[in-house]
Amino acid sequence: MATQISPASGTDRHVGSPRSRVDGPAKVTGLAKYAAEFTAEGLVHGYIVTSTIARGTVTAIDTAAARAVPGVVKVLTHDNRPDMSEDPKSYQDMVGPPGVPYRPLLDANVLFSGQPVAVVLAEDFETARYAASLVKVTYKAETPKTDIDALLGEAYEPPKKRDGIKPPPEPWGDADGAYAKAPIQLRQQYRMANEHHNPMEPHATTVVVEEGGTFTVYDKIQGVANTQQYLTGAFGLKPEQVRVLNPYLGGGFGGGLRPQFQAFLAMLAARDLNRSVRIVLTREQMWSFTYRAEAVQTVSLGADRDGTLQALRHDAVHGTSHYEDYQENIVNWSGTLYACDNVKLTYKLAKIDTATPGDMRAPGAVSGLFALESAMDELAQDLGKDPIELRLINYTDREPIEDKPFGSKALKACFTQGAERFGWAKRTPQPRSMREGRELVGWGVASGIWEALMMPSKVRAVLTGDGKLELGNSTGDIGTGTYTILTQIGADSLGLSMEDVTTKLGDTSLAEAPVAGGSWTAASSGTAAMKACREIAAQVFVLARQMDDSPLANADFERVVFTGGRIALADDPSRSVAITDAMKAGGFDRIEVVGEAGPDSDFAKEFECFTHQAVFVEVKVDEELGQVRVTRVVSAIAAGKILNPKTARSQIIGATVMGIGSALHEESMLDHRLGRFMNRNLGEYHVPAHADIHDLDVIFVDEEDKANPLGVKGVGEIGIVGTAAAIANAVHHATGKRVRDMPITVEKLL
């Protein structure tokens, strides 16, 4: 029963079937409103002036010329801002790392290039932007440190761990001793560039001043509850004073998990002026926070001649800011993915003068698996083994760190089905052995892994007398399809059409739910929705049974099905009652239930939960010119029950494209003398264009999991995890060149 959404009916019409996004029409017709599109009477527009130095102090800000511009309402700086809390605890958000959160306009200190130093508030955006250009800021600059290579010697273990991020486990066995004795040894350094989020929608906040000291806030965020916590904390407000909404998000990917400085500044200004305020970041300003920071990693693999791993070390130094200890799980994956008796994993931070890095799709796993899965490919090459075979030799059905079985792990099937679809058997193992005209052809493979998480979530379900169902909670649909899957679940649970179900998200007035991240939303909100709907079903069934001459008079809830808006006997569908009739007869015009879901602690005691990926890549590389094309990708995914193969496939396709970007294109280039990212625009920070994308194929491998009643594990991140390593491995197979620092740009192949 675990994978059935509607145990009463035993048949799902929508869950598990491809369904188009219910929010699609609103998005493509422009009816879907985003944070910067909400307005209010007398709206004031803010434009942020940012620091040009990365470290030092502001010695003077001359705002006279800006203030003299007609239409300018005020210019806020650290000198004239209203009182604000100095207590770092006031600024804690739900997902922030340990440290002192950045407090905008607190004082004259400059912590990173692009830091807000003033906000110009004006009657219209253009005036604010023009006046901002007239603000003269004088600095006392200090020499910034942004080169992680120069800071490796100062790297430290973060004293305080970030919530939700497991630190490296205690080592087991003797990794160094076993490595020294291993007949086959491989030790290499891997690195990947700094990458910045570039969702289509830039961060924006509209604060609407309401009556009685309350505010309605539209904020670009992956979970409105986080903005509410942050703003109420920072400004000493009560939750009932701040309603936060964000019904749609133009791309999250982790970049919208933490409330950003424009939310604080918009509220600061709104309270100061007692007027509604909107602040929208420029594309350039999107380089001033939350990014995938460069990690310098060393992987050491010792193996027997048959390929059995004898020693595994994975050491990472990762960039963070001076004011927060941002942390990711980069190295633990190496302990989870393979069986090995001698394992040591270390993770250290180096403080660099940028804004605090942050989560970016499969944070930690993208960096860590690039290193691990490149190293495994190198080991396979050294051993003369097929890279899949090497992975199967070291396969584990028990999670080694916690020493528990996996709740489910269909990675072997991912390899089998992926290899079959890709045609892996036709690969000739020698590098440079496959060719087509001027192009060298390379086939590469890699594994991917991500956590299958659940977070405490509620969903409120309301069934009304007209047979319509409304579901809602405060989490966000970050473009993944949450609106759609919750609608599917609601429809199947009560036997309704999807048109009869409305899902509302992204509003703190709805049922409590966390930020949408970590691929946990489908399992968490989905289970809560199912539970709420099944409770409603049970209540409606009681009403149906109590009707005069009810055809279901003696029926058992376990023996009825909900279908076509009716409750029918499973064995004799001719005996049925319309849901609307049952409610009418019972005198109910609405039934409201809040369903709750969270991690199953009993299950978690026994099992470890992960999603897996086997990704196969074909590249063609112009031998002379070093031009790389990713001509084919087959990504085989084991992620439990797939609620909607259409939206799930889109997640994997999108993640694959993002992986291609990581492998070949994305790089935020730091000028270490200025401590400044220099290519801060979409013309010079490259993500793949359509011309770079060829055939992408997705396989969802059947996998039954019992961590939640839906059997769902989540698909938002897993598609990106192994993709870059598979591309690097394919490039090596094509060219014989091993590129260990991403992105693989032309200079690395000439």
Binding site: L625, L674, R676, E684, A689, E747, L750
Partner: protein, 335 residues
């Protein structure tokens, strides 16, 4: 973005007459508006020239006269251009996007400014943006910068694709200004940075481009525009090659070669072109020309790869041109 006066000119004379200190002509605006948003350009006055009668493409002395306001799309899709100057068509279509090409004009394309990161960032010094402030690109983030003809003041590159083809075609730029009309050979239109990197071209203040004249010789049989960049579409060239050959059998009788992405102007080396003439159209010949060209390269801290990339791109480009198999615009690959 600063505040500015706006005037619309009805004639070339009106446009020239409206010019003054801090004024800028605006046509498609695809570059100027961006630069204004970035506070790189702060014109006190914009002179809108979009209504000037310069949109046409006309026959001219055996060649074609491209009006300065003919859009990039109009030129690229003009049947005469496609038939007689496919090199120009291909170069235009290798750049920007359909939307930009619909707005960008011929004259404006000649005047687009460098994509140097520092030039675009008003928060950093830049001799091109603020003469005398310094050049942090030297020793900084410079993998996209010049390997030919740079100075100790500026290492920026010229970003246009179209201009690389126009350089190879030896077009003429006709301009009108306070002192009347004059014609500027294409090779003399753009300049090297020297000690005045703020000047991209040899235009005098108030001069306006009125047409780009294509000579009769179009290299329509043996040509290519090969553009190598960090992704296959919508990126500026790391190295591009515009090549046009005339052949007598296998022997090269005329050769034109211009490189993009490597210098402050479309880069030509007439010695290398002369070396090709009279030689068989073979890989060995092309390699000799390529070696000659890159011999004078002076790379920066991060762009040494461009020297080898340019050498190989020249050989490939000449091969494509000689074989009559120009780089495709629709195949998702470098051929």
């Amino acid at each position: 973005m600063n505040r500015f006066d706006y005037v619309r000119a009805g004639t070339v004379a009106e446009a020239v007459g409206a010019f003054g200190d801090g004024a800028r002509f605006i046509a498609g605006g695809t570059n100027l508006i961006d630069l204004m948003k970035y506070e790189v350009e702060k014109p006190g006055r914009l002179i809108d020239i979009t209504r000037l009668p310069l949109q046409g493409i006309e026959e001219h002395e055996g060649g074609l006269r491209l009006g300065a306001l003919a859009t990039n799309a109009k030129v690229a899709y003009d049947a005469r251009v496609a038939e007689r100057y496919p090199l120009l068509r291909n170069a235009i279509l290798a750049g920007a996007s359909a939307q930009l090409r619909n707005a960008a004009t011929t004259g404006g394309n000649l005047l687009q400014r460098t994509r140097c990161y520092y030039f675009y960032d008003a928060g950093t010094p830049c001799n091109k943006r603020e003469p005398g402030s310094g050049c942090p690109a030297i020793g900084g983030v410079n993998r996209i910068h010049a390997i030919f003809g740079a100075s100790d003041q500026c290492i920026a590159t010229h970003p246009s694709d179209m201009c690389i083809a126009l350089a190879a075609l030896e077009a003429t730029v006709r301009v009108s200004g306070p002192d009347g009309e004059r014609a500027i050979p294409f090779a003399e239109f753009h300049r090297l940075p020297g000690n005045a990197p703020e000047k991209d071209t040899t235009l005098k203040p108030g001069e306006i481009v009125v047409s780009v004249d294509l000579p009769e010789r179009g290299f329509a049989r043996n040509y290519t525009y090969l553009k190598l960049r960090d992704r296959l579409s919508y990126a500026f060239a790391l190295v591009s090659v515009a090549a046009g050959l005339e052949l007598d059998g296998d022997t090269i009788t005329t050769a034109r070669l211009a490189l993009g992405g490597v210098a402050h102007k479309p880069w030509r080396n007439q010695e290398a072109e002369a070396l090709l003439v009279g030689q068989p159209a073979t890989r060995e010949t092309f390699a000799k020309a390529a070696d000659l060209i890159v011999a004078e390269a002076k790379p920066q801290s991060e762009n040494g790869f461009k020297v080898e990339l340019a050498r190989r791109a020249i050989v490939r480009g000449l091969e494509q041109a000689a074989a009559g198999t120009p780089q495709s615009l629709s195949d998702k690959r470098i051929q």
